[in-house]
Each structure stands twice: as C-alpha cells, then as structure tokens.
C-alpha cells in the first residue's frame, strides 16, 4: 500500500517539466565541497543545520494539500498510527461532527510535525539515476533502493509521448518507460552508500530475475536537496498566483466602473422620462471604428484588397 500511494505521486506530471538542478548544484559544490562534505552526518555545523531548515520549509510549501502528505506519512511510520488510535478512542465519545473534523485536522498537523521532527534529525540525501532499466516501475525501483535505507520521495521522468507513440506504432512494448529519476533518502549516509554500491553494477538478486543483469547508473548529488528540484515550479506557481490576484483585482475595478455607468445611465433615462425629453443628445465621445473589408463587386473600392497576379492567371486558366 505504501508503494502504491507513492506511485500515484511519482507519476505526477507537474514536476516533470521544469526540473532544475545544474546551476544550484554547482554553486553549492563550490561553497561546501571543501569542508562540509567531509563531516559525517552526526557532526553538523550550525551553519549547515540552519540551511537544512530552510530546505524543509520549502518542501512543505510545495505540498499544499495536507491530506496527501498525511496519507503517505501514516503509511511510513507505524508510530504515527499509534498516536492516532489513542486519539480516536477519545473521538468516539464526542458526537459533534465539527469537533471530529477539528480533531482530524489537529491529528494531521501533529503527524506532520512528527514527520518533520524525524526528518530534521537526519540530513536528507538525493541521488540521480540517469537511466532506468526498461519498463521498471517506480514500486520496483523503490524496493531496490530501499535495500540501502529508507527512501522518502522518488520521481521518475516518463519518456516523451512522441517516442512512446512511435514505439507502440512500431510494434514495441506498450508499458511505460521511464527515462531518468531522482530519489531522496532520509539519511544522507544511505544515499551515498547506494551510489557507491549500485553505480556501475548490476542489480543482482536471484539469477532468474528480469532485472538481474541491468546495470544501474547512480550519482549522489552532493549539497543538493529535493526542494531544489521543485523550486522553480513552486516559484512559477507563486508568481502565477499573485499575477492572477492582481489581474482579478484590476478586472474588478473595471467591473465596478461598469456597474456605476449602468446605474448612471438608468438615472439619466429616468430624468429624461420625467422631463419628457426624448431627443438623443449629441455625440459625447466617438470611438475609432474597426475596418470594414469586402470582396463583393458592388462594394466600394476602398474596402477591397488588391488581387495578386497569380489570381489572374488562375482565373484565366479556369474558364
């Protein structure tokens, strides 16, 4: 169940398009490579710790929907569900639905906190997979990667629709193929271990396994966080949202103006009715009119377009 829940997110196409990492990584490498990479996970400097905090916040900013987050967390941590059941017993005695709803929210919040706290204890590590074995599904890959430690988020990029169509058209396999992917380990250590062990090696396992002989290509992305992947999309979404708000408020101003004008025109009409004036006023404002065109013989020449020479030859050849 855990896997399937994650799968649905793994396929999400939102993250697919603008995945960003190269520049960020380069910069970070410059800054940290000298000193920080040599530290083991337990010996963080304060500097790095605070940096990590920022990253976590960003991550949660992206997942606006608490329920989606919640489900996943419940599955990952059995402790969390214990918490829940104790609260549930209390909840039964309260019949009020609103109260229940509130409790649910609280529960979710506490789970979130718990999760955040747990994550904070360790520094997360991200690995990059430049090739995914043909037709391997996220669930299977997660299983393989989980050998080295707890995997949190996993994102695989699907192949283009175009290539997929071409493959199917040419009689190829109809399963989805993934091109590349990223995985996040809860512990940095595991990520590094995974990269060292798995990179350039076959997947192994039982001899007869379908993926036994596939060679993996894994790179540990040092100084790189999951948030860096989604940062650009989140930023764009934010910009779009604020732009939308701005535009709506502008449009509302226009609307208000329109409503005022409608009321004014009603007033003027009423006044006219009372005074028994029914002549139209002279023009107050004139608008630039849009162009009229015509191809009719009867229409004035100013509206017509000049016919090209090619057309004349067509006409000559026609009749």
């Amino acid at each position: 169940m855990h896997d399937s829940d994650n799968d649905s997110r793994d396929f999400s196409s939102d993250e697919e398009e603008n995945i960003l990492f190269p520049d960020k990584r380069a910069v970070r490498n410059d800054v940290f490579s000298g000193k920080l990479e040599e530290h083991t996970d337990d010996q963080h400097t304060d500097d790095e710790q605070s940096d990590g905090d920022e990253d976590e916040e960003k991550t949660y900013g992206i997942y606006n929907d608490p329920t989606e987050r919640g489900i996943e967390i419940e599955d990952v941590h059995p402790n969390a569900s214990n918490n829940e059941s104790s609260e549930n017993q209390e909840g039964k005695s309260i019949s009020d639905e609103a109260e229940l709803e509130r409790r649910k929210q609280e529960k979710l919040k506490s789970i979130k906190k718990f999760k955040a706290a747990k994550k904070l204890k360790h520094k997360t590590g991200v690995i990059y997979l430049s090739k995914i074995p043909p037709y391997m599904k996220p669930a299977k890959l997660r299983q393989i990667l989980s050998r080295f430690g707890e995997v949190d988020r996993l994102f695989l990029k699907r192949e283009d629709d175009q290539t997929y169509k071409q493959r199917v058209k040419g009689g190829g396999n109809k399963k989805t193929m993934f091109k590349e992917g990223w995985a996040e380990y809860i512990r940095k250590k595991d990520a590094k271990l995974c990269a060292i062990t798995l990179n350039g090696n076959i997947i192994g396992g039982k001899k007869g396994n379908f993926y036994h002989d596939d060679i993996m290509n894994v790179k540990y992305l040092s100084g790189f966080k999951w948030a860096d992947l989604t940062e650009q999309i989140a930023k764009e979404n934010d910009i779009r949202q604020s732009k939308l708000q701005l535009e709506i408020s502008q449009a509302n101003k226009l609307n208000a103006e329109f409503i005022r004008n409608v009321e004014k025109s009603k007033m003027i009409k009423n006044i006219k009715l009372k005074r028994n004036v029914d002549t139209d006023e002279d023009v107050r404002r004139s608008f630039k009119q849009r162009r009229i065109t015509s191809t009719r013989t009867a229409a004035p020449d100013s509206q017509k377009q000049e016919p090209s020479k090619q057309l004349d030859s067509v006409i000559y050849n026609l009749f």
Binding site: T293, Q305, L318
Partner: protein, 438 residues
C-alpha cells in the same frame, strides 16, 4: 417546370438514392443548374446559404459518372477541411449503391495514406487546395497522374477560394488538371466578387457551350433567409463574456443549440475555457486545434453532446447542422458577407432561427455596413438585462476568465504557431538573400 429529380434528367438509381435520403423536392438552384450541367455547360451558381448547392453539383456529376464509371472523374475544392468532409460524406451516401470511391484530401491528415488512396484512382476527390497542391508538388506521377484526365472541376464557395489566400495553391492544382477546354468547370458561391464576375465575362473557348450562370445578378438582394430573426445588443468590450454567459444560461436559451462566432482563435480558446470552468457544455472549433480535435468537437456538437460550439470563421461556411437555433456573433466580422455566412448556419432549409450580435463601441460602423448589406434593420435584444448580468454573472465570469488566461499562459497556447511563423520569416529572408546574391 420540374417537380421531381427524375424530370431533371438524373439517372434512376440516383433519384432513388435521393429519395432514400428524404430528398424529393429539388430546390430552385437544383432545378436550374442540374439540367444545364448535365448538358455539359460550365456553370456559375449563385445562391444564398442553405439552399442545397451541394446536391446541385453532386447530382449531375454522379449521374454522368454512372454512365461511365472511370477513375478520377471529378475534383471538388473547398476552403475548409470540415466542409470537405461534409461533402465527401454526401458523395459517399449518394453513390454507395454504385460502389463509389471518394478520396478526402485535406490538411491535418496522414499524407502517406492519402497518397496511397490517390494511387488507387478514386472516382471523386474532395480536397482543400493546400493539401492537394502539396501532393502535386511532392508526389510521383503514379499518384497524381489520374488528375490529368479529370472531367469535372468544382469550386465550392468560389468567392473565398478566388482570393489571394488560396491563389498560389489553386494555381498549382490547375497546373496538372486538363486544359480548360477539356473539363467542365462548376463554380458555386453566395457572393459575387470581382473575380467571379471576371470569370462570367471571360471570353469563351471555341467549341464549348456558353457559361450558364444562375442568379448571379440579383444575388445581392437576397442575402439572408426570411425566417431568420436578427438582433443586436450593445455591450462594452470588457464585459462581453459576462453577457455571453448570462444569455447562455438564461431560461430562454439554456437548452438551445448555439454557435458562438469569434474573430480569433485565441478568443475562441479563452471563451471555451471560461465557459468550461463555469460548467457549460461547450466545445470549440478553430484552426489552432489539431485536426483530430476539430473533427471530434464538430461531431460532439452534431450529436448534441455539447450544446454550444465556439468557432472562428472556419465554421462559418457551408457546415450543415440542422439543429442550430441561435447564432451569436461575439465579435463582428470585418466583411459583411461573413456575417451572412455565419447566420446562415441557422434557419437552414426553411427552418426558423435567431441571430444575435454583440456590438462594442468600435463595431458600430461594421454593424451599419451589415445592415445595409442585408437590407434589414436589426432589433435590439431585450431578453437579458444589465441588472441580471451584474448580479449573477459578472464576478464569476471575471474570475473564470482570468484563470483560463493563466492556464493558457502556462500551457503556452499559440506558441507553436508563432514558431512556425518565425520559421516562415527566416525562410523568406533566406530566399530574399539568395536572389540578391544571384
């Protein structure tokens, strides 16, 4: 004079086929044109929209073809893909008893498939000029060889085909057809343009009967069907969407079938998204959709799965959708004749229909031009008032419109076309350079 198709001189099987399609009474155009075409005259047919022009050229061609069923008998050129499909359907339906083979050669479809189809020597080719020209330029002799023996050439909606837009492609198409003396040319149009007039007055080739022209002179006065109600509504530019939504959801119109015409593909897309966000069953038809979607949405509209069709002028000509009750001109067309074609989508073949035009401050002179063209004053539309719009639609629609604009921005609507246009610009620049260098 003639009261049924048989007395017009059509073959027996064709009369039966027409009967089975519930077409028994020939219309005026058909009565006039069919005997002349059967005689072998070139023909220029002018008739208002929805008067049965398609049958007027299809029937005599099929009748003559059945006497000697040879491959590549006739070519029909139309300005839009949807119209070509509709005509192809009618040909197939009429000729199915005689095992007719009709090839549809339109853009947006598989080129290779079409070429193969052409190699099989279909009896009739229904085409749009651009794609046919492409085949002529790029395919071998075995594909297009049959075109050299074609006996009929039909230009449907000739007024628009004989403009600069299609001129180049038409010239290419004509280059492989047999010379003008050896084929029969049929022109059908609802507007008489300079070009059509020039054709009518063109000197005759020796040994050929004179051109038969029908209603060419007095066509201008009979523009729109009598049973059509024409109305207008004065609307400021920026609240048009709100009015549209309010009208479409008003009691009077909330179950009617409506076509909304706009001038630009972008506005069609905005409207479609906005109305979709507001839970209106709506579909759209414009040139920036992939052909598959174009066909689909037209089909959905025909089958009444969507009540409202938002369309640009690709849908303004020839399309026969009997159930349309209201044509709404969201934008006013520059050409008064386009207005006539647009409103011609309703009130077809003697039915009644309504048309409503949104008039923004900048469109007044256009409306005046249209009124003088159709010889009729429009009435003011009063079924939906300002208060209702303000109270029920304005805020909702404004938000929906902005949201759809954002979504379009995100998905990059229109980017592809822009790129293609740029590419064209580069090509042109290169060509200019080459000629300069020479």
């Amino acid at each position: 004079m003639y009261n049924d198709f048989k007395s017009l001189g059509l073959s027996k099987w064709l009369v039966e086929a027409l009967h089975s399609m519930k077409i028994t009474q020939p219309t005026i155009v058909q009565k006039a044109c069919i005997p002349e075409i059967l005689k072998g005259c070139d023909c220029i047919g002018g008739a208002k929209t929805g008067s049965g022009k398609t049958i007027a050229f299809a029937a005599p061609m099929l009748s003559n073809w059945s006497a000697d069923p040879s491959g590549m008998f006739g070519v029909v050129l139309t300005p839009t893909r949807e119209l070509a499909m509709q005509i192809a359907e009618q040909f197939t339906a009429l000729g199915s008893i005689m095992n007719i083979k009709v090839a549809l050669v339109v853009g947006g479809d598989d080129i290779v498939k079409q070429a193969l189809e052409l190699q099989r020597r279909p009896h009739f080719i229904i085409a749009t000029p651009g794609r046919l020209a492409h085949h002529i330029m790029h395919s071998g002799e075995d594909t297009i060889g049959g075109l050299r023996r074609v006996k009929y050439l039909v230009l449907d909606e000739a007024d628009i085909l004989l403009t600069n837009t299609f001129g180049k492609d038409l010239a290419t198409c004509l280059s492989v057809l047999p010379p003008k003396e050896k084929r029969q040319n049929l022109l059908f149009t609802a507007t008489i343009t300079d070009q059509v007039k020039a054709l009518k007055e063109a000197p005759r080739v020796e040994g050929k009967p004179p051109v038969f022209s029908f209603q060419v002179e007095d066509l201008d006065c009979l523009a729109i069907p009598k049973a059509l109600k024409t109305e207008y509504l004065l609307v400021p530019e920026h609240v048009k969407e709100a009015y549209l939504y309010q009208i479409l959801s008003s009691e009077e119109y909330n179950d009617k079938t409506v076509i909304v015409f706009v001038n630009r593909t972008v506005s069609a897309e905005i409207l479609r998204r906005t109305l979709r966000l507001l839970d209106v069953r709506v579909t759209s038809l414009h040139s920036q959709l992939p052909q598959k979607e174009r066909t689909n949405s037209l089909q959905r509209f025909r089958a009444n799965a969507a009540r409202i069709l938002i369309a640009t002028d690709v849908a303004s000509r020839g399309l026969d959708i009997p159930a349309v009750q209201l044509v709404l001109n969201y934008d006013i067309p520059a050409n008064p004749d386009t207005y006539i074609h647009r409103v011609g989508r309703t009130a077809r073949a003697g039915r009644s229909g309504e048309s409503l035009s949104f008039v923004s401050p900048k469109d007044v002179s256009r409306i005046k031009a249209i009124e003088s063209r159709i010889n009729k004053k429009m009435d003011e539309f009063t079924k939906v008032g300002d208060t209702a719009v303000i109270r029920k639609a304005l805020t909702k629609v404004t938000v929906a419109k902005r949201e759809s604009l954002m979504a379009m921005d995100k998905e990059g609507f229109g980017e592809k076309r822009k790129q293609q246009r740029n590419k064209g610009g580069i090509k042109r620049a290169n060509k200019a350079l080459e000629t300069k260098n020479k």
